[in-house]
């Protein structure tokens, strides 16, 4: 019997290069005893690979700039058009200036999700701190955009129309809380989908081993189907993250609920 693997081992963070900012390293565990642990981990490595991958995808894909695009160029153009249309439909033409940010976000999440599906790789987006960091950046950025564009009028977002005056204080608090849930629901949705999918793949992978040559084929077939599903989810969740960013941006830019 081989050593037992926990299905959650795929989510383990390994420090590849130890780096301790302004602190001392504990000699036994090799971790930071104090100060900021800025070690280069397998998660960081995958993010670097994703950045290089996205950049290469567009730089190499758009190298020829043919009028009749090759398959690669067509893929790059397709993803551009996809996000550009999404922003135009959901926020309006004046939101084109936010296109670079949303496009970067979408491609980063998409590549993180897809590269995470490669065996022995690591899924960056299955860690809530990563998705939460992205969601909180979106949230703070959109709040700033709202205040810059509308000033104090942006606060009208928290005042629902058609509510009796004596209920208004309560409703405003609830609206503010509902606004504050946005980064949580945005990040949890992406994180939970990726984590659940990969855990399920691992669990069924364990079944294949434990059932052996005779019974292992059924879970193996299931894994194949599940991997196909995961590809769909990888794309869908990147899309959902981008479109929800657009919908929130719409509230800030056009100021109607």
């Amino acid at each position: 019997m081989a050593e037992s693997h926990s299905p959650l081992d795929v989510f383990k963070i390994d420090r590849l290069v130890h780096l301790c900012l302004g602190g001392s390293v504990d000699p036994e565990s090799g971790r930071c005893a104090s100060g900021l642990d800025a070690s280069f981990t397998n998660s960081s490595l995958l993010m670097v690979i994703v950045l290089v991958g996205v950049t290469a995808f567009f730089l190499l894909g758009m190298q020829q700039r043919a009028l009749v695009p090759s398959r690669w160029q067509s893929m790059a153009e397709l993803s551009y058009e996809f996000i550009a249309n999404m922003i135009r439909e959901n926020v309006g033409p004046e939101a084109r200036r936010y296109f670079p940010f949303i496009f970067t976000l979408f491609m980063f999440i998409l590549f993180c999700n897809l590269l995470g599906l490669i065996p022995y790789s690591f899924t960056v987006t299955s860690h809530i701190i990563v998705t939460f960091a992205m969601a909180i950046v979106v949230f703070i950025g959109i709040t700033i955009i709202g205040f810059v564009r509308h000033g104090a009028h942006f606060l009208k977002l928290f005042v629902p129309s058609g509510v009796p005056v004596f209920l208004l204080p309560l409703m405003v608090v609830i609206e503010v809380l509902s606004y504050l849930t946005r980064p949580i629901s945005l990040s949890v949705r992406l994180f939970a989908n990726m984590m659940a999918g990969h855990t399920m793949l691992q669990v069924f992978g364990g079944f294949v081993v434990s059932l052996g040559v005779l019974g292992g084929w059924a879970p193996l077939a299931f894994i194949v189907a599940l991997t196909g599903l995961e590809f769909g989810i990888a794309f869908l969740q990147a899309y959902v993250f981008a479109i929800l960013t657009c919908i929130y941006l719409n509230d800030a830019v056009n100021l109607h609920h």
Binding site: L67, M86, E89, P93, I174, L177, S178, L180, I184, A192
Partner: protein, 108 residues
């Protein structure tokens, strides 16, 4: 492709601009396009996340205020209830969106 050679790249830029102008007018009125197209399982997941997120945010704020103001259970209780209300508000909004996506009435 031999007959189409008369359309040079310059024409193409003009045609693109004309097309953009045509679609621009079309989309000007659209403040809000289609929401998130989702499968039933996706909707189930979305609604539950919205509900739980409200509780998490409300409970978190209440806990933090308690620690700050030293009013131990009071703020947590109040904000937990408010967070639940906010979560339900979000669920109702998401359900309205779902209704619209499925072609039902807006609920207004």
């Amino acid at each position: 492709m031999t007959e189409d050679d008369s359309q040079k790249p310059k024409d193409f830029a003009e045609r693109l601009r004309a097309l953009r102008g045509a679609t621009q007018g079309e989309t000007d009125s659209v403040g809000r396009g289609r929401g998130t197209p989702q499968t039933p399982a996706g909707w189930v997941f979305r609604l539950s996340v919205e509900l739980v997120a409200g509780l998490v945010v409300g409970g978190g704020i209440g806990w933090f205020l308690d620690r700050w103001l030293d009013t131990k259970p009071a703020m947590l209780l109040i904000f937990f209830a408010l967070g639940a209300a906010a979560g339900m508000l979000n669920v109702i909004r998401a359900a309205k969106e779902m209704n619209r996506d499925l072609g039902g009435s807006d609920g207004k």
